[in-house]
Structures are given as C-alpha cells and as structure tokens.
C-alpha cells in the first residue's frame, strides 16, 4: 500500500528490495548534481522545499491537522537562524538547532490553542498565526530589517570544514544531508507506535480517545515536531541564501506547500518528495516559457491528480498495476 503502512513482521520495502527507495533518492540527487551543474541553487531550493513539505506531511498527512500556516514555523526558523548568524556565530550547525528550536517553540505555543480547534476554524487560525508573525517581522524593523529583509548573514564553513562556495556545491550537499537525515527519521517515526497513533487520530479521534489516548496532547506533540522540521527548513533557507525576507511568512508559501503535498500524496513520505520535485520543476520550466500563464499548467495538474489519482502521484504505480490487472 503506502510507505507508512505496516506490514506485520516484515520490513516494508519497495519491490521487495531493502532501502531501494533511499538508494533511488541518493542516485537522483547525485545525478542531478552532474546533470545540472549550473542550477544547483534551484536544486537546493527544491531540497529545502521538500523539507518544508515533509514537515507538512507529518502535521497534515499523518496527524490530519488541517493547516494553511506552516510558513509561520518556517519563517520563524529562518529569522531565528538568520539573527543567530548575524549576532552570535556564523557556524551553520548551531544555527540549524536554533532554527529548529524556534520553529518548534512557536508550534508548541500556538499549538496549545490551535489543537483545540478543528476544520475550518483551525485553518483560519493557522493562517492568522502566520499573518501575525508576518506583521511582527514587518514592524520590528530594527531587528528583522522589515520589508528590506534581514541582511548581513555571513556563514562559516559547515562543521568548520566545508566552505560555502559561489556555485553552491557545498550548500547543495549540506542541505541534502540534513533533508535526508530528517527523511530517515520520519520514516522510522511513521512505522513506530507514535506514527501509528497519529494515523489513528487522523482516522478517528473518537476511537483514539475511547482507547485511552490523550488526543489533544498528542496533536500538540505532532504539531511541535512538524514546527521543528519547518523551522529547520527555514534555517537552511536563511543560511544558504544568506537573506531572510518577509516572504518567508507568506500565505503563498503555506498554500504551495499544501499543493505540492496533495500532488504527491498526503501521508506518504515519498509523496511529499515527488510532489515537491514535480511542482517546482514544472513551475521553473513553465514560468520560464510563459511568465504569465504558468499557474494554468499547475492548476491543470492538480485537477488531474485530484480526479484520477486522489491519493496522489505516489499512488501511481499501485493504480497502474491495478489497471493492468483489470481491477479498479
């Protein structure tokens, strides 16, 4: 079924080969590096976006928390890491920790209120949190640089060894390693009791409460973890681009992340990756060809997926197999 489904007493693999998914992932990342050596900045942006969409997958795909405000945690992570680099140290790894902690802290504090709401109310509140963050960053000009953005971020070499270079080779590998580690951890989580219980809450909060699960507390936990990962993505963006603008809090970012996730398939980690890569690539190519109407193509794609592959593109192989076997 999906990569988050447990098959009892057997390690879930793709086509029966252990770690095939991971191997393909690494192969694609290495291949892209050699195929598009002049697009490393764009490829790095895709990787950062993958991380943000993975965080959304944890929150929305696993735990079923409807949100359109994941940018709040992303942006807070970005500003935290940016300010840390400007005022404390330019060492990237401590900056990552700061970004993740900042994202998690915001998610925890707002989650205490948000996780009591459901459905549309919840969506509106998540949007509100991101808007409030946006406005604070806008007004606190002395700290954040306001609409001009936070400047003066100077990064030191990663772990004191790898200097950030002009083409972005270091940035690419640095970001990939972080994203890959988070991906592996999320994969563990998906099949662990916690991941399963989040899926349970997603399917039936009433039933979870009736088997004694502290649903609210666990939702706050999931939202906090997702916030930490989103903060990490923001921190990476701040470090790699060495600039934080108000855009990090934009509604657009939250919404696009959601579209990428739906495109790929919610609740599936590979879905988050596939959706992001396809969305960003189509965006990149189509926007270059026709800067005004590229959204049309994206819209068409989303429509197609929603109608024909409601479980997302990650479900395509299963859907095709069923088609070939003549089942529906």
């Amino acid at each position: 079924m999906s990569d988050t489904t447990l098959t009892p007493k057997r390690t879930r693999t793709i086509a029966g080969i252990p770690f095939l998914g991971e191997a393909i992932l690494i192969a694609v990342v290495i291949g892209a590096y050699f195929l598009f050596p002049y697009n490393l900045a764009f490829l790095t942006r895709i990787l950062i976006m993958v991380l943000l969409v993975l965080s959304l997958d944890l929150v929305l795909g696993f735990a079923g928390i409807a949100t359109l405000g994941q940018a709040a945690m992303y942006g807070t992570g970005a500003y935290a890491a940016g300010l840390f680099a400007v005022h404390v140290t330019g060492a990237p790894l401590p900056g990552l920790v700061v970004g993740a902690v900042a994202g998690a802290a915001l998610a925890f504090l707002s989650g205490l209120v948000l996780m009591r709401a459901k459905g549309l109310t919840l969506i509106m509140l998540t949007i509100a949190v991101a808007s409030i963050c946006h406005e604070i960053a806008n007004k606190a000009r002395d700290v954040t640089g306001g609409a001009d953005g936070l400047r003066g971020i100077r990064m030191e070499p990663v772990a004191g060894l790898f200097e950030f270079d002009f083409i972005g080779k270091t940035a690419y590998w640095y970001v990939f390693v972080v994203v890959f580690v988070v991906f592996l951890l999320l994969k563990r989580l998906a099949n662990a009791p916690l991941g399963q219980s989040l899926r349970g809450i997603h399917e039936s909060p009433e039933r979870m409460a009736a088997i004694g699960a502290p649903v609210y507390r666990r939702l706050v936990l999931a939202y906090t973890l997702g916030g930490g990962i989103a903060g990490l993505a923001g921190a990476l963006a701040a470090q790699v681009t060495q600039l934080v603008s108000l855009e990090v809090y934009s509604f657009n970012l939250s919404a696009e992340a959601l579209i990428m996730l739906i495109l790929g398939g919610t609740g599936r980690l590979y879905g988050a990756i596939i959706g992001t890569v396809i969305f960003m690539t189509v965006h990149h190519v189509a926007a270059a060809a026709d800067p005004f109407n590229w959204l049309f193509l994206i819209g068409l794609m989303v429509l197609g997926v929603v109608f024909f592959l409601p479980k997302g593109l990650a479900h395509l192989p299963t859907a095709l197999t069923r088609l070939v076997r003549g089942r529906t």
Binding site: L189, L194, G200
Partner: protein, 251 residues
Amino acid sequence: MTQATGLRVRGLNKNFGGLTVAQDINLDLPPGARTALIGPNGAGKTTFSNLITGILTPSAGEITLNGHDLRALNEAQRVKAGVAKTFQITTLFRDLTVRQNLRLAQQERDGRAQSWFRRADSWPEAEDEIDAQLAAFRLSDMGDKRVDDLAYGQQRLVEMAMTLMLKPRVLILDEPAAGVPSSDSHLITDAIERLPDDLAVLIIEHDMKLVFQVARSIVVLVNGAILTQGTPDEIAANQQVRDLYLGGHHD
C-alpha cells in the same frame, strides 16, 4: 484497589437546561456483572453511557470504580482507570488492518504509544498477545485484512477484541448487535458469553432476544430514570415493562 466493588453509580443526574436526561440513577456493576440496560428510544441509555465514560459531565451524583472517584477524570483517563466501551455505530480505524487496530489499543494500554523509533510491530510478546486475542475472537484469518473489507458483524467483533485489549474492568457495549444481520448475531452473543468472568459488562441493547440470552440482570430506563430492575424473569413478568414494549393494547 483493595475492595473490588466494581462500578457504583449513586444519585446520577444530568440536565441540559430544563431538560432532565438522567434522574437519580443508582446502579451497581460488580465484577462479573452481566447487566442489560433497556428502554425505549430517547430513554437516556446512551446519555448514561456517556456519563460513565466521561464524554458528558454529570450535573450531580457519584461514579466510583472500586472506591475511586471517576468524576474528575476525562475520557482517556477513565479508560486507563478501567472503563472501556464500544460504540453504537462501529468506530474503528477503517483504513488499517485488524491487527493494527488491536495494536493501537495495546500500545496505549502499555504506555508505549509515544515511542517513535522502534517499529510498532517489533515487540514480540505484544504481537503474540494480539495473535491470541485474534484467535479468541475467531479472527485469526482476518488479522491482515483492512477493517473496511470485513463484514459488519466481523467489524463488531474487531471492536470488541480491540476494546478488550485495554484490559478493562468495566465494559460498556452500546448496542453490540445493532446493524448486524440476524444470521450473524450469534457471533456477537457468543463473543459476549465468552467475555472474562471477572469483567463487569453493561449491555445497552434493543434486541430483546440478545438481552435475555446474555443478561443476568436487567435495568429498565424510561425518561432518564430507572423504572425497574431485576432478573430477566422478573422483568419479563413485569406488567409495566410489557406495556412499554408491547403497547398497552396487547395483552
């Protein structure tokens, strides 16, 4: 913990504004009880169940389990204290397998639901326990099927098996046979008859055949208050109950 008096309900009241949905209810469910709660639609049977499980807060009255006050506990905490229930309409994780459903209850009971690194199915004793539970409910062949792919009667059994994974002391079955085709209702009756001896069971049910088959004591609820209670024979002979269920004009 010392005295196993089971569940004791005293003077339970619940009002929604001026509407009284539970009125001075007294009920004892000692270990091993097989008590049926019957009554016409709207008599407050499900309300009573919700008051016991913590979904609703009583306006007045006491609820204790083996001497421990349950009133301050929320739904999840009451489950931990030993009060579990099945829903009137089967409520399961439909997209998950039967085994996964049971495992979710089990991991909550054992307090490892927050563990995030080890695979959920990597506790061998726990998996053995699930196997045993599946066998006890004659669901061994269904373990790896999705709940959604099962017949409704079987889903009912899964819900019971799952709820029993919690090792409750009091089990509330809210219309366990509702929606189950009569050809399958013996599955439910059998399962209820095989429940552990020391478990206190409250069965809320419309199906009188089932009630008289499994209950050793019957409580009749009308308009939120207990009309009468007694053994199945006493209830069957009670004229008030006969009027209620058969209508006055039948004799």
